[in-house]
């Protein structure tokens, strides 16, 4: 009963947020394409949107949903590799800086992570291009490289050239997201390490590695999941910049092009779709939280 009420209230909130986003999109549509918006009342627009019809692109002359879905795989792969990079870096770095907080290397890592969070993405991206592409000539500067077609999905992750091309944009995005997660994980780990269960484990003589990985990391992961759900929005905003900078043919550069071409319906459709994805991701984060958190699991079984 309690669960049903919770789920229902969650659904209502989500629907309300989507409705607000749709109203805002209609307003933006009116700013970009006033002629189009004047032929379509807000109520009509909302009816279309709720029935899943996001309209036709004024430039592409195809359904907006179809246009965006075609560009989405590129963005998805970029987001995926960025997430893998962040996870792959944040766990060892977080553990190290928490285990040896006073060490010079730890201090340098924390100081360096400040750069990532304080510099805007277009600047770190430009620096990355300058160092790794122009000066060192290790990585390509733009585009997706060779892609393999699987059904409707153009994947760049199955070719060497695809991996070379994804490295710089993904590294740029991770550099912007990493510091927040690193600081959170470090703070959580430091706190967990001083908690009673960990002290007990230490007293029992369990090996330090086991304590860090299974007792420390597992407890410190919980706030990270919430954070990941929330940071999805930031990531989507950063992809706009990174995709434009690296000429990445994804949904972000599609959105930027749509603004330049005054393609109001496509802009509005993208905004609604991103809001929808954001809600989905935060719902998924909450579900994952429930799985990882023993308290919640215990509460559910009662």
């Amino acid at each position: 009963m309690k669960n049903t009420v919770l789920v229902l209230s969650r659904l209502t909130t989500s629907a309300l947020i989507l409705l607000l986003v749709a109203v805002a999109s209609y307003w933006i549509l009116g700013l970009i394409s006033p002629n189009y918006a004047s032929n379509l009342s807000l109520t009509q627009y909302l009816i279309h949107v709720t029935s899943g019809d996001l309209g036709q692109s004024q430039f592409h002359h195809r359904a907006n949903l179809q246009v965006i879905m075609q560009a989405l795989p590129a963005t998805f792969e970029l987001v995926l590799v960025t997430s893998l990079l962040v996870i792959g870096l944040v766990i060892p770095l977080g553990l190290y800086t928490a285990i040896a907080p006073q060490h010079r290397l730890s201090r340098s890592i924390m100081a360096f992570s400040l750069i990532g969070i304080s510099l805007p993405v277009f600047l770190t991206g430009s620096f990355m291009v300058y160092i790794f592409a122009v000066e060192l000539n290790w990585l390509p500067t733009f585009g997706r490289g060779a892609t393999t077609v699987i059904g409707d999905w153009h994947s760049g992750l199955l070719t060497a050239s695809g991996w070379q091309h994804i490295m710089l944009p993904a590294a740029t995005l991770s550099l912007a997201l990493l510091p927040m997660f690193l600081r959170l994980l470090r703070a959580e780990l430091l706190q967990v390490m001083h908690s009673n269960p960990v002290r007990l484990a230490q007293a029992m003589g369990i090996t330090p590695w086991r304590i860090w990985l299974f007792y420390g990391l597992r407890n410190a992961t919980l706030p990270m999941i919430t954070m990941a759900g929330l940071q999805f929005g930031t990531l989507m905003a950063y992809t706009l910049v990174a995709e434009s900078l690296f000429q990445w043919p994804g949904a972000g550069s599609l959105f930027m092009q749509a603004i330049n071409r005054s393609d109001g319906t496509l802009v509005a459709a993208y905004l609604i779709l991103v809001a929808f994805m954001f809600l989905m991701v935060s719902a998924l984060a909450d579900l994952a939280y429930g799985m990882f958190n023993p308290h919640l699991a215990a509460w559910r079984s009662q």
Partner: protein, 520 residues
């Protein structure tokens, strides 16, 4: 556990990175924007015309040295003041395999005259008369001096290929702006290349046709990949990193670096694109006073803009026609004089100034928004307060056509490589029927200018014609019909061994089919 897996994963990545990326024989080109269509008559823009020269051939074309050169026409001669006879090249086939004949020329002209963007250019031609399969006359209503210039814009399309209807039951020969028509996605021309892959806005790949008629061309570029890269810093970085072979345009800030780099070279040349400001007399009575217009022209330091904002990458202008054009007068120079400007404002009774609105694009011309900001500051010195709004070109032209702003930036490149085109489009009285004065945002209207420009079109004595067009420039100068800023230069960045300058026309069209790439 992720941490244990990580090093192996990283090694794998490094191995991938060390793999080579081969792209032999392909010329990798990046422009700032994608050509919107494969149809040469859908949109009158530089990008479309550049592409049209790769997929199609015109009857004749401009050489980089500014002469005419026969393409699909082998010879042409004036029969009288209204007629030119073209002898067409024999044994030329379209990409579809259909042979090219005089009927295709006639059909292409008729089709071009249905295009909203091109009908103005071909308006003077009243008739195309087919004599036989490879001979054809173009006849104008009135005596017309610039028939050859016009023929450089006439790209010949495959009339048989575009017959009938497509899958959506639309006529294959329809010209539709941004309509994704059949012709905008399917090309059959006689040109040197054909499309092998096209993802609009992402990539366009071309392959040289084995059966291309021009065997005399020294060009050795077999494949071309065209990538639109909107961000100019990304474009420059990609050239410097060796990911691209050829880029355009190059922003002034990157000139030094590309020129200095051991693997790349910069190619610049002056062009005929005039950047100007239109002073809207219809919107503001103040601007109807010639002293106010003169004051504005004298208050704007266009030499300073050319040297500081454009970093010397522009020639400051005092008139429409750049040097080398028939209408150009050496005596009409930039006229910055702040003291005189202030005096003129006093005389006109506007010593205390007034307020003007202004619009400028921010992604159309080199440094357009910065130039506009400089103008705002310069006009403040004669007490004119300017409310400036800059916007992307997609919104800009709609706003320009609304005609409700007081000052509007406009760049113009003569469609015919001739002085008269500037005046026809920018200085003649607005006339919706004839299309003259179409972009005359200032609503400047002087019957004497109209008379001279119209007469010059019919005048086939070139000496008299030159005098007429120079007189027009003189009148526009005295009337301060518009604010001339500068003629923008062209810049291309290329890898060493790619001498783009040898195949580039002043209209900024590279004949990539004739490009000889030498491996350094």
């Amino acid at each position: 556990m992720m941490s244990l897996f990580w090093p192996r994963y990283l090694t794998l990545l490094c191995l991938c990175i060390l793999g080579t990326w081969a792209s032999a024989n392909t010329l990798r080109v990046a422009y700032d924007a994608d050509p919107v269509s494969l149809d040469p008559y859908e949109q009158l823009s530089g990008g479309t015309i550049q592409l049209a020269h790769l997929l199609y051939d015109p009857l004749i074309r401009w050489t980089p040295q500014q002469d005419f050169e026969g393409r699909l026409a082998t010879a042409w001669q004036r029969l009288d003041s209204r007629t030119i006879r073209f002898n067409l090249r024999q044994g030329v086939a379209f990409a579809s395999g259909n042979p090219m004949t005089a009927l295709d020329v006639k059909w292409s002209l008729q089709r071009a005259k249905t295009s909203p963007d091109f009908k103005g250019i071909f308006q003077p031609i009243s008739q195309a008369r087919v004599i036989n399969a490879h001979t054809l006359d173009l006849i104008t209503e009135q005596p017309y001096a610039l028939l050859e210039n016009m023929a450089t814009q006439l790209f010949i399309m495959d009339s048989l290929y575009y017959q009938g209807f497509d899958d959506n039951q639309r006529a294959k020969d329809a010209v539709e702006k941004h309509g994704h028509s059949y012709a905008s996605e399917h090309a059959s021309g006689t040109g040197p290349y054909q499309v092998t892959q096209r993802q609009q806005g992402i990539l366009l790949e071309l392959k040289r046709r084995a059966s291309y008629w021009d065997h005399a061309s020294p060009g050795n570029v077999q494949r071309i990949s065209l990538t639109p890269i909107h961000d100019s810093a990304t474009r420059s970085a990609a050239l410097l990193a060796g990911d691209l072979d050829l880029i355009a345009p190059v922003p002034p800030i990157d000139h030094y670096r590309i020129n200095k780099h051991t693997d790349t070279q910069l190619f610049t040349r002056s062009s005929a694109r005039l950047i100007s400001l239109q002073m809207n007399q219809q919107a503001r009575p103040e601007l109807q006073d010639v002293r106010v217009r003169q004051a504005i022209v004298h208050a704007i330091n266009n030499k300073g803009i050319a040297s500081k904002i454009m970093r010397g990458f522009a020639t400051p202008a005092g008139q429409q026609s750049p040097p080398g054009y028939v209408g150009h007068l050496n005596s009409l120079n930039p006229r910055y004089d702040l003291a005189l400007a202030q005096k003129l404002m006093q005389q006109a009774g506007y010593g205390s100034g007034f307020r003007l609105s202004m619009i400028a694009p921010n992604n159309r011309y080199v440094n357009d928004a910065k130039i506009a900001q400089a103008v705002v500051i310069m006009l403040a010195k004669i007490n004119i307060k300017v409310d400036l709004v800059t916007m992307p070109k997609a919104q800009y032209w709609k706003k320009y056509d609304q005609d409700s702003t007081d000052l509007m930036m406009l760049g113009w490149h003569s469609d015919t490589e001739d002085s008269a085109n500037f005046s026809e489009m920018l200085a003649m009285c607005r006339n919706p029927d004839s299309g003259y004065g179409r972009y005359n945002g200032g609503h400047y209207c002087n019957p004497e200018v109209d008379r001279l420009v119209s007469a010059s079109a019919k005048q086939t004595d070139l000496k008299k014609r030159t005098q007429m067009l120079q007189q027009v420039e003189q009148i526009l100068y005295q009337d301060a019909a518009f604010v001339p800023l500068h003629w923008q230069h062209l810049a291309w960045g290329a890898h060493k061994g790619i001498n783009i300058g040898e195949v580039l026309t002043v209209m900024n069209i590279p004949y990539l089919a004739d490009l000889v790439v030498t491996q350094p």
